[in-house]
Amino acid sequence: MTAPLEAAEPAVQAAGPGDERPTRRGTLQYALSKAGGALFSIAMVIVGTFFVFRLLPGDPVRNLAQGRNMTPAQLDLERRRLGLDQPMIDQFFDFVGKTLRLDLGISYEYKRPVLDLIGERLGPTLLLAGTGLVIAVSLGIWQGTRAGWRHGSRFDRFSTGASLVLWSVPTFWLGLLLMMVFGVGIGPIPGLFPFRGIESVDAPDGFAYILDVASHMVLPCLTLVAVVYAQYLLVMRSSLLEEVSQDYVTVARAKGLRDDEVRRRHAVPNALLPTVTLVFMRIGFVVGGAVTVETIYTWPGLGQLFYEAVRVPDFTLMQGTFLLITVAVVVMNTLADVVYHMLDPRVRSA
């Protein structure tokens, strides 16, 4: 819940038919240049991470120990294990080398490789964020199309208003309210959905297991969808509005095409592009939402792991999860850029 709404709209323009876009360049060449940019970004992330985490005040080993009583021998061992006895420049190259080999270090709190910990939590996050994203995008596009096409209608006013409200609500607050109403239950109404974890402790097997997980997903998913779908709706609506006033729409109508067909065949495909790009551009936003949602509902995902690392604080783990999340977001953005380039003829031949 941190990206300004306005960023949602202009960002699309920025990613869209931009002014600095190379003219008449092949898609492959474009993709390569974008990939180069992404690699550069990733390199910056790695370097930035190294230095930000060295900004920590105090002795890193002591920070790790969190005031636990350690013998000098233990401290020494820890220091050597972390390579802190080396000069800074060696530490830096060591860090870069290890990161490139996907060695993210050992979590102090869990005493296990960070990569393993991340691997365990990846699935649940992909399940939650993925499902949430699919629902949010579909719902946003559908409702945005409807609202934009029948601009000014009751439906339009209602859905724009609703999405503005949802946009303004802090994720955690909505999550807590939903938990109270649908999880715990209020007054005589019993709670409907489980509000802890990804499955029951005594989870059944087979199909019933899927139902069990699905039931646990309802509340976290609902929270995530409610918060992220608003921006998709608003962007879809405004880009459709823009298409509606284009000449080709008027021409299509003049040809006598049915209203429905004009929309489906002409306006929507064009208006879809900025929205789809936005979906990728704002993946970081979904990740932010996932941190909050997973924490509230004890969902065993990456967001929860990251939050726990922040709370302990376990800096190795925090560093590893931060790196991974950021790199994932960079990759998604680059993909979005390339896909956009391939799909939108206006960009390609501008």
């Binding site: 990206a3 300004p4 303004s168 109270m180 970081g284 939050y307 950021t326």
Partner: protein
Amino acid sequence: MTSPAAARRRLALSRFWADFRTHRGGMAGLVTLVVAVALALVAPLFISADVTSVVSGTGERWAPPSLSEPFGTDESGRSILLMVWWGSRTSLLIGFLAALLSVVIGLVVGVAAGHFRGWLGGALMRVTDWFLVLPSLVTALVLAAILGGSTFTIIMAIGITTWPATARLIRAQTLAVEARPYIERSKALGAGHWHITTRHVLPNVAPLLLASTTLEVASAIVTESTLAFLGASANKTSWGTMLRASYDFGAATQGAWWYILIPGLAILAVVMAFTLVGRALEAVLNPRLRRAA
């Protein structure tokens, strides 16, 4: 009637106001905002930080809303109404300062990237793009965790993670402005970088900046509350820390719905007001959107 330029500006302003007034949502938001900011400013005339003190809070604990306590009391018998009122000062202050920081960085980088084409502009855009993709909540949490959660760090963390959107917007606008012929003329007359950017570009990007700032404030308030909820903030009473306290003290299991609802609704109202004003400003200022909306 000092100069024709001033007159022209005044005319533009009144036209802008006439346009803005047609946006009902924007007007509603503006009224809400003026009221909220005015209330926050005059708060010290009526109440003091004592309303957040657990020592002087002598009321009944967990009292539901009543005539004497319209919004009920919290776990220490403090009035939720007065705390929300006092807390609005911190929430709004962080909102405004973080937005200001974000917009200032965005403005400087954006104008520079638009004005200096060459490698400098390119490099600045690279940096901007890089910051743009950083997941902002995650980054802000890391920064707050590393640097501690004082008001200052929270403002820094929000400002640093949100400026790139503004920078992109400003850069696009700068490019558009500098393409106009009178800039060419100005250059021919020997105007330097400073003159062009401050005299010609700045006045032209200022209105858009206003819209952008408004929306930044909204998102900064939400981010502050989220950081406070996630426990990364060591602030004085704000709406976010109130919600955190309602969670820590188990308002939900106590059935104290007012403790959870009121600060949340305050955030909702103010953030929505900012958003509505920002959208209306954008619609008025951006002809592309104006046609559409």
